[in-house]
């Protein structure tokens, strides 16, 4: 029986709150806090009346002092950070100051450099160790479940893993000619950034979207997949012993890429303000205002996501292949928690990660990536909490 402070009130937070309330044996009491308290109150109103007690609070997570104050008031056993990645460090600082465990779903990035790197958060290792508290980094789906999948494969099926291909497919259709699932700024940045994969001890850079394949996904069908960099590559390259190659692949439709390319061509994705009628306007911000609100996509989105890992290696001297994946249905997710699969697949693993720490299963002083823990209890919870996984020992491989 524990208390969790949830920072954030967006789509993922909504899933986290629902799932906490579905597990009152673990989450006795939660506090939902964000910059806009009315959003927290709206969530509380939806879910009040169950066994889990719900509080709300206003907090500016950019300000460590405010987070410390709130932690002191509420007294949580863990802080579940589902706010913006820019706020990871201020919240970690507050956890250090108050001796409370910490969990997030995406690694810290400074506002100005747009670099996905763990170095800023790994720099907290010693301080968390000394404080005797746990920080679990990247407990969403990818990063998150993908790391658990790799650790599970390592533990049960391989003596040595040589190749990991993480495949992230979204077969959802929202019926608009163009819209983005979440913050379009992040979508656009992912796509316009160089690709990067890990091979033989170093990262290899590739031009944006220059490596494309087609993969046939269960529950979705054939999709174009593109090699991207994704943050879990950095930790998996260190934590999976003997690994030779790790790549991350994501589906994008030709239609989506065409829209993005055109918007880039005309300057609509730029974050440099232009002066329009005497006032500075950031084109990307104006585009956001024109596009459908990501929150409005939930009720309209049909189809499934399919995210998993295709793994190659050896067991008992024999080559072995293994594919472990989850399929999540957008409409079913929306029916259950009011958010579609993109938020669902991120929020549920955050709650499972918190459970692991609160139950003492993953309670260890320091700062950790998810694949550093025993995957078995997490894999068990995935099946119980709405993200059942499937496995195959004869998957189609990527050359």
């Amino acid at each position: 029986m524990a208390k969790a402070l949830i920072i954030g009130a967006g789509g993922v937070a909504q899933v986290v709150v629902h799932k906490c309330c579905q597990n009152p044996d673990v989450f006795e009491e939660i506090c939902i806090a964000s910059r806009t308290k009315s959003k927290c109150d709206a969530l509380k109103e939806k879910l009040d009346g169950g066994k889990t007690k719900i509080q709300t609070a206003q907090v500016d997570a950019d300000k460590t002092e405010e987070v410390i104050e709130l932690i002191k008031q509420f007294g949580p056993d863990i802080v579940i950070n589902v706010a913006l990645p820019y706020q990871d460090l201020t919240i970690m600082d507050a956890c250090l100051a108050t001796g409370v465990d910490y969990l997030d779903t995406a690694n810290y990035e400074p506002l100005d450099t747009a670099k996905f790197e763990y170095k800023w958060q790994w720099a907290y290792r010693e301080r968390f160790e000394k404080a005797g508290i746990t920080a679990l980094l990247g407990s969403g789906f990818d990063p998150g479940v993908t790391g658990v999948f790799c650790a599970y494969a390592q533990k049960h099926y391989f003596d040595e893993i040589h190749t990991i291909d993480i495949l992230d497919a979204n077969g959802g259709d929202h019926g608009y000619p163009f819209a983005t699932n979440f913050n379009p700024e992040i979508n656009i940045r992912e796509i316009t950034a160089n690709g990067r994969y890990w091979e033989k001890g170093e990262f290899v850079e590739t031009p944006p979207l220059s490596i494309k394949k087609v993969y046939d996904f269960e529950g979705i069908g054939e999709k174009d997949i593109y090699l991207l960099y994704h943050e879990e590559l950095e930790s998996l390259a260190l934590n999976i012993k003997g690994i030779q190659k790790i790549r991350f692949w994501m589906t994008f439709s030709q239609n989506y890429l065409t829209h993005l390319k055109v918007l880039e061509n005309v300057g609509m994705t730029s974050i440099e303000p232009i002066v329009y009628e005497g006032r500075e306007i950031v084109p990307l911000q104006f585009l956001k205002a024109l596009l459908p609100d990501p929150a409005s996509l939930g009720p309209r989105t049909k189809g499934k996501t399919n995210i998993g890992c295709v793994i190659q290696g050896v067991k008992d001297g024999q080559p072995r292949t293994y594919y472990v994946y989850n399929m999540c249905d957008h409409q079913e997710a929306y029916k259950e928690v009011g958010s579609q699969a993109i938020s669902y697949t991120t929020g549920v693993p955050a709650v499972i990660g918190a459970m692991m720490i609160l139950k003492g299963l993953w309670k260890k002083p320091g700062v950790f990536n998810i694949e550093e823990f025993d995957p078995d209890p997490f894999m068990e919870q995935l099946n119980k909490q709405g993200l059942p996984w499937h496995e195959s020992f004869e998957p189609v491989l990527l050359d």
Copy 2:
């Protein structure tokens, strides 16, 4: 020796002013007038020192009284209207009030309906007749030279014309991924409007860009052409006796259409304001601010335009085909007059039309479309004034 009042100071006006100054035997004195006098002064500065005397003036052509006042002051023999089509009627009213001949390059359209129709200007016929003055409508390239081409074919090569296909190709490349040659609002409206062609006594509507063919243009090569409505179809259908079918075709690249479609999809071409940070912003206006300034395209644009008419009919009881066209080089036009071919092909015919009236060749009381006059002296001037034409009696036909 005559005096011309030129209303407008954009790309076409720049061509008109240059060409008037190249023909000081006809244009003894000109006055360049527009809302922004500094633009007129800049043009004057460029061209001062030749035989043609140049004045400038500030005028709001929306206000008939202001135009009347200016005509009284300057005392022109003709008003060359290369301002906005919204201003045709106020300028015609001023010509009526002062007894001065009138010429324009595009038909009047009310600001709110976006309909290309001659009815508003044709309604002035009786008043111009009674005033003893001439109004020449649509003396650009298309409308304009295309009508002269048809009249020329009719006069010299056909007993009866059955089919006219007007082909407007722009092979220009400005090197930007996307930009529009002139006001993007007009570009976008042309493309998103229904197509329309004239067949057997009536107009047939087609969905936007639904009829596409490929045509091999001299000087340009193979291009996609799309059936559009264009204003000269309305007058040619009445003025070419025995005509059974008239169509207008324009080239658009797949790249251009893709950009336009995407911008439409995300709402960037909308003229409905949205509220952004507390202020109303029209998305299309914001897009204009982002796109390269159409005026900046001139120096960068390479390649040619090719505009002409493919005509089918009978002569002496035998079927006959005829193709008459002009090719205009963007860079040569820019070198000569500081505007590329799109403006050049509109401005030169305006000056030739004015010559026809000022020389008394086309001086007739009333309101006329260009194909109603003897085409021969106009065709002769096209060759002299920089728009030489070519003809073929075995053109590739459009089915």
